[in-house]
């Protein structure tokens, strides 16, 4: 039929992935540039602030083994090197910001769309609940890539300065660690969006997980004998990579597994639950639906 042709039919549209990617990339770009600028500033000023070996050793002595400080900022290692310094200074901050960005972005682009009734419009296209969620998660992944790429670009740019002297692979690993929590909490936020019935509840659930991860990491970094606990907190995994100071890329493995596992579970659960309902507190969600649709009862 010519008519059909003129109308222009597309097969299996990926519009949900694009829409989600566009929205996620917008905020990812802001944070990516900010992360990059922080690295640029901090690595760039290290040598002028601590020009002598003695100054750097003092730095290491004063801050390198301070348990109370480590509990807040994360474990310090080799503060007498610029790599150790930017890792310690930045990771504590970036990992928390990244995780919060991740969980808020995931719930905004999944649960909030559903709460607001826009998910229903998207589901009416040539897709189904499971595929639509998979697409949205692919869009979130694209947002993470933007965050990572900008952080990496700035880190590689600063590494070319002779005084800094990061290796390119070290710089890329640094960007990966700085944004690892963002990846994990995008996935956890996507999972929470299936479990909880509203965006608020999804945020609360994901934030509670983040708080637990942070507390475990705090204890691990504050008490030397409990250092092993770093391995039971996803935030601790990120710390264990040490991109510039004895890198352990294997520590990225549990991060990748958690991210992929949570995302896969979110997709599966989305396929199994009805539009507008939650896996947890199912009854409550149902009651809400009924109240909304059953106003003049006969």
């Amino acid at each position: 039929m010519r008519r059909e042709h003129a109308i222009g039919e597309r097969r299996a549209p990926t519009v949900i992935a694009w829409l989600t990617a566009k929205q996620a990339a917008r905020s990812a770009a802001v944070w990516g540039v900010l992360f990059g600028l922080l690295v640029l500033q901090d690595a760039g000023s290290y040598h002028s602030n601590y020009p002598t070996l003695a100054a750097r050793e003092t730095l290491e002595r004063n801050f390198g083994h301070n348990a109370a400080l480590n509990a807040i900022t994360g474990q310090a290692r080799r503060l007498d090197t610029v790599g150790g310094w930017v890792s310690w200074r930045m990771f504590g901050l970036m990992i928390i910001i990244g995780a919060i960005w991740g969980l808020l972005t995931a719930s905004r682009l999944l649960r909030k769309q559903e709460d607001a009734g826009r998910w229903e419009l998207l589901l009416a296209g040539q897709t189904a609940r499971r595929q639509a969620t998979l697409q949205a998660i692919a869009g979130l992944a694209a947002g993470w890539v933007v965050l990572w790429a900008l952080t990496a670009a700035f880190t590689v740019a600063v590494s070319s300065r002779s005084a800094v002297g990061f290796s390119t692979s070290g710089s890329l690993l640094y960007a990966t660690v700085a944004t690892a929590s963002a990846a994990m909490f995008l996935a956890i936020g996507a999972l929470a969006s299936q479990l909880a019935g509203t965006r608020r509840q999804a945020n609360g659930l994901a934030a509670a997980i983040l708080a637990a991860c942070f507390l475990i990491r705090m204890v691990a970094d504050a008490v030397n004998s409990l250092g092993w606990m770093r391995w039971i907190s996803p935030l601790g995994w990120a710390e264990n990579v040490h991109p510039f100071t004895g890198s352990q890329p294997l520590a990225l493995l549990p991060i990748a597994l958690l991210t992929i596992g949570a995302a896969a579970l979110a997709v599966t659960l989305a396929g199994r639950r009805d539009l507008g309902t939650a896996v947890l507190a199912r009854r409550e969600a149902v009651n809400q639906t009924l109240v909304c649709s059953a106003v003049p009862q006969l």
């Binding site: 008519r3 059909e4 003129a6 109308i7 222009g8 039919e9 597309r10 097969r11 299996a12 549209p13 519009v15 949900i16 829409l19 607001a116 009734g117 826009r118 229903e120 419009l121 998207l122 589901l123 009416a124 296209g125 040539q126 897709t127 189904a128 609940r129 595929q131 009805d274 539009l275 507008g276 309902t277 199912r282 009854r283 149902v286 639906t289 009924l290 649709s293 059953a294 106003v295 003049p296 009862q297 006969l298």
Partner: protein
């Protein structure tokens, strides 16, 4: 080639836990047919549509769209469907034309010249942001997006709830055009005049259950006749006459409905000196009352629809 029904459901049902949302439903919509799906709010109209679109899992039965199992394979079933949901939820930050573009991509097909024509006919300003739109304008965006897809099946859930009468007229014209082109329309509504004006057949849903399907002519045959009588003197008591209901006395004027034979009523009227008599086919509104009775909720619903 035998024609495949646009919609066919077999025992389609849905419960949320112990709460029944839809009792087993058998329904068929042919190609090129407009089916009015009429029922009060909460009767299960939206549940039916969400099952039809595979957005919620049916508890039992089947739903097919052009022969494709809509529960098992919604992505495939949606290829020939355009949907207007009951709530006009859009992206507040997008403009009207950005929204139409996005919904066109969701739909997968757009007839752009027709879309342009619809924008003009519905008098939509597509340059404004959605957050600045009234309810009626958001409704127009959704209608234009669905109609301009020229999908073989339009599923419309309360599509005119925010439109003014002028725009409702435009909507009716466009649905007429769609039908003339052979598109099927599933029109869920509690607005009786709309269903009356547009539908080939009507399905009436009450308390999660299909109570009646048929053409308007068939429905009238099944239901009451409306009688208005004016008397010279005081009107007689008509409420005891067999088949008569909904008696409404106002001075020397009486309105009532009669089901079945009119003979006993006519005898009574003649005996009491009737001065003027008007009988007419009941409107869909009255059909509705015959089904649901004159409960306060029903009256409220009708008032809301009017």
């Amino acid at each position: 080639m035998t024609t495949v029904a646009a919609i066919r459901t077999l025992g389609l049902s849905k419960s949320f836990g112990d709460v029944v949302a839809l009792r087993p439903l058998d329904l068929e919509v042919s190609e090129g047919e407009v089916l009015g799906y009429l029922g009060p709010n909460g009767a299960g109209k939206t549940t039916t549509i969400r099952c039809l679109l595979g957005m919620i899992r049916a508890t039992g039965g089947r739903a097919e769209i052009f022969g494709v199992d809509a529960q098992r394979n919604p992505a495939e079933a949606h290829r020939r469907v355009a949907y207007v949901p009951g709530e006009e939820n859009l992206w507040p930050g997008l403009t009207g034309s950005q929204t139409l573009h996005l919904l066109g991509r969701v739909q997968g097909r757009v007839d752009l010249p027709y879309q342009q024509e619809l924008v003009e006919r519905f008098k939509l300003d597509p340059s404004k942001k959605v957050r600045a739109y009234s309810k009626g304008n958001r409704q127009k965006v959704l209608l234009i997006a669905a109609l301009s897809s020229r999908a073989d099946l339009l599923i419309l859930d309360e599509p005119t709830s925010g439109l003014d009468p002028l725009m409702e007229e435009v909507f009716r014209e466009s649905v007429g055009e769609a039908r003339a082109r052979g598109q099927a329309v599933f029109l869920s509504s509690h607005i009786l005049s709309e269903v009356e004006a547009l539908s080939d057949r009507v399905a009436i849903l009450r308390a999660e259950e299909l109570v009646e399907v048929g053409t308007l002519a068939e429905m009238r045959h099944l239901s009451a006749l409306s009688i208005d009588a004016t008397f010279d003197g005081a009107p007689p008591d008509l409420s005891r006459i067999p088949g008569v209901s909904a008696v409404d006395v106002e001075g020397n004027h009486v309105g009532c409905q009669v089901i079945g034979s009119v003979e006993p009523l006519l005898d009574a009227l003649v005996a009491s000196g009737v001065h003027q008599l008007l009988s007419r086919e009941p409107s869909l509104e009255e059909l509705f009352l015959a089904h649901y009775g004159r409960g306060p909720a029903a009256a409220q619903d009708i008032a809301h629809a009017a």
